[in-house]
Symmetry: C7
Subunit: 89 residues, 7 copies
């Protein structure tokens, strides 16, 4: 079964919640998630973030839901890494 | 017997399916495949992707079929890595 | 439980306390903290610092308090890294 | 006895055979060969390739023959690595 | 207890003592110090140095004293790294 | 006793012998030699090469002789690495 | 006791002795010395060299003497690395 190992997302977020809480919530959306959030740009009302998420098998739908629940929007998926482990692995 | 270990492909894809599903399908096309998809450009109707695929012995034909089945087209093969294991290996 | 592993902060600080004491106080605000302070700019009254803080689980609130207690201000959060350890970890 | 360990060749190839088959044939020309083919340029009739070949002891003559057999031409040898193993090695 | 692990200092020094003796004296100011001195600029009367000092727990005061004793001046502190070892460490 | 461990030479060579044979001959001039030859420039009659030679203790004289025997000329020595092993080594 | 571990020197040398002999003599000036000589510039009468010297405890005086004995001059000391080993080391 194919597993999604890494995602890099471009996200537009309002100032609240702050970057730390936003990152915490994304990490909380999946067991074993490791999230690195970089603030690329800050405007009057929004922040443009680059989110790199790594994990055993990432669920984009739940990540998108968490992003929307915090009033932000997924601008684009920039990178996807998927592995199809051989039976022996 | 020569084995194809790594391919870097330039692919033009419609917006649907999304990058994640596209990457998942390529990975699913072969046991042990590890796929890294980068979105280089996004236009009104298409996305230009760079696909790096690694594996024990990649089958380009089935990868091309999966690409075509998803309505995308293989624009060019940018890199090929092949090994001819010595009998001792 | 999600843990905050790394923060990169942009801080504006008066000349006193000096960079070393400032860094020492930030490190003292949490057990196991490792702090790297870079002085990016020096003006007549202030210094612009980049603070990279690593640790087991960083508490931004207490870091912000220490910053404020020393008369400085947190200008922006540039990077947050959070991990949600799998039960097995 | 001196052994040729690595070659980087600049090759001009017609569009057929494709990059993958071309790379496979070069690898097949010697036991233990590892070949990395990069497509540097594509014109109406030809592709300019950079071929990096590694192995225990590469035979340039047979590589040149395979290149010619596929209708391509060796434009230049850019890098050669040769080792003269000490008796102790 | 917080320990200062690394300092990068910008120092303005007269031509005497020479760079080697200057570096030796800074290293001698603390047990276990490792000092890397780079000469960035040389003018008629002075040299601008970058001093990187690493150690178990650096004492800036004694370093500053040694700098002053040799007729030089600490122009700025560019980087400070401090660790607050967890009890388990 | 001081040993010469690495040399980088700038060499001007006629088109014949070819780069591979040239590299092979340099490697053959000393037991344990590892030679990496890069072709920097190609003119109508000559090639400008960068030769990096590594070994236990390189003999420049015999390397120069081999270069001259093949009709080429040592344009310059760009890098020399020499070690004076301590008795304990 | 402080030990000088690494020096980077800018040296102006006449064409004779050649770079290899020059490097050999510097290495011979101290047990365990490892010397990397880069030729940065060549003029009609002189060569500008960068000498990187590593060792257990370098003696600049004897290095300077060897440089002078070969008719060259130490233009500048660009880098000095010194360690003050802790008693436990």
């Amino acid at each position: 079964m194919v597993k999604v190992k890494r995602l890099v997302l471009d996200v537009l977020k309002p100032h609240q919640p702050g970057a730390l809480e936003f990152c915490r919530q994304i990490a909380a959306s999946g067991e074993g998630y490791r999230v690195c959030l970089k603030v690329d740009e800050v405007d009057e009302n929004t922040q443009t973030l680059q989110l790199e998420i790594c994990g055993e098998d990432l669920a984009l739908e739940s990540i998108e839901r968490v992003i929307a629940d915090m009033g932000a929007s997924l601008h684009s998926i920039d990178l996807v890494e998927a592995h199809n482990p051989a039976d022996a692995d």
